[in-house]
């Protein structure tokens, strides 16, 4: 992939979104349904990335106790629910993943 286009494109898009309202200072407004839908975007995108990554880590559906990615992901969800802390979730989630990998693989 051409990394120059990647950076330029990401810059243009991100900056464009952040700047458009400031540039036209109050001359644009949004319909309510759009404002409501924006808050669903980050969790929906993130979920759509996580689920295939852990359910089919090697490209095929693998719902079993030998799929350490799926096991560690489920445990990480529980860790996140209990600790309510992003950093703790990452730390303990990784720990669980590496332990499971040692045990099962």
């Amino acid at each position: 992939m051409n990394e120059v286009w990647l950076i330029l494109g990401m810059f243009a898009i991100t900056f464009g979104i952040r700047f458009v309202m400031f540039a036209f200072a109050g001359k644009i407004t949004f319909p309510v349904w759009m404002q409501q839908s924006l808050k669903f975007v980050p969790p929906a995108v993130l979920t759509a990335i996580i689920v295939p990554a852990v359910v089919m880590p090697y490209g095929d559906m693998d719902i079993s106790f030998t799929n350490v990615y799926l096991l560690a992901a489920i445990i990480s969800v529980m860790i996140s629910l209990v600790t309510k802390s992003l950093l703790k979730t990452i730390f303990f989630g990784m720990l669980v993943f590496l332990l499971l990998k040692l045990l099962i693989a």
Binding site: M1, N2, E3, L6, I7, G9, M10, F11, I13, T14, F15, I17, R18, F19, V20, M21, F22, A23, A25, G26, T29, F30, Q35, S37, L38, K39, F40, V41, P42, P43, A44, V45, L46, T47, A48, I49, I50, V51, P52, A53, V54, V55, M56, M61, Y69, A72, A73, S76, V77, S80, L81, K84, L86, L87, T89, I90, G93, M94, F97, L98
Partner: protein, 263 residues
């Protein structure tokens, strides 16, 4: 009368106050306000710098992304897409969708910045991250320690951006260096680091029926559409999730309206 004289003198004092000093005070307060959020962001900057080369991004592109794009969650998502060799168009489309929330932030801040020169507004827009938006929302609260005079509040904004920008780019650089020192990172299963990071980000969102149905539908759809070419499944699943969330909100409103009618 004496009382009023005193008041008058005080007023004079206020007008003598150096405007430079006020600006400096706002700037410093902005830098400081960012610190708690920065502490949370440093590990992610480091993680980004460490993970990026293992996902297939070059060192300079990793650095350039933190310096020019400056959007934490979008940067991580793009890494995940590069790792699965998604094409450029899908990556850019995803960047667009993921960053759309900044429109809401900008809309909320427009009344505060509309009077500033356009070049300054462009600069402020560049630095409008989730964190700086959180800082600015606090600054405009009536109980802000800096008071209700917002004449120089944009210096607070600049201070928050300054703190955040310098830390985010340094943390990325540090991560790149760390990743270089410890070369065999991929074999440790660092690809799971991304998944677990995203899990930790999503779970706190899921606090309502609407959010639950949005994430659940996105999850099912992402498996169903996984084999679509060019990772198109990601965008489709995200849209399905958003649609599911919206329809739950609609249904809840309808049932509330019906109940009101019955009463």
């Amino acid at each position: 009368m004496v009382k009023y004289c005193h008041y008058f003198i005080n007023l004079k004092k206020v007008s003598i106050i150096d405007h430079q000093q006020l600006k400096k005070a706002e700037f410093k307060a902005g830098c400081k306000a960012a610190i708690p959020l920065i502490i949370g962001a440093i590990p992610f900057g480091i993680l980004f710098g460490t993970l990026a080369p293992t996902s297939g991004l070059s060192v300079w592109a990793t650095m350039a992304m933190s310096l020019f794009v400056f959007a934490g969650s979008a940067q991580f998502i793009v890494l995940a897409l590069i790792a699965v060799q998604a094409p450029l168009e899908i990556i850019l489309l995803t960047t667009f969708v993921v960053n759309l929330r900044h429109l809401l932030y900008a809309t909320a801040l427009v009344p505060r910045v509309a009077h500033l020169p356009i070049a300054l507004r462009a600069f402020l827009a560049f630095g409008l991250t989730d964190e700086t938006f959180a800082n600015m929302s606090q600054r405009y609260q009536p109980d802000s320690p800096l008071g209700n005079d917002h004449q120089y509040a944009h210096y607070f904004y600049i201070g928050s951006i300054f703190s955040f920008y310098t830390t985010w780019s340094s943390a990325t650089a540090l991560g790149l260096i760390l990743g270089n020192i410890i070369p065999d990172m991929t074999s440790w299963g660092l690809e799971f680091a991304m998944s677990v990071t995203f899990i930790g980000m999503v779970v706190p969102y899921v606090n309502s029926k609407a959010m639950l149905s949005a994430t659940f539908s996105a999850a099912i759809a992402s498996l169903y559409f996984f084999y679509l070419p060019n990772k198109l499944g990601l965008i489709i699943s995200a849209l399905i999730g958003v649609a599911a969330g919206l329809s739950v909100i609609r249904m809840q409103k309808m049932s509330i309206n019906n109940q009101e009618k019955k009463v």
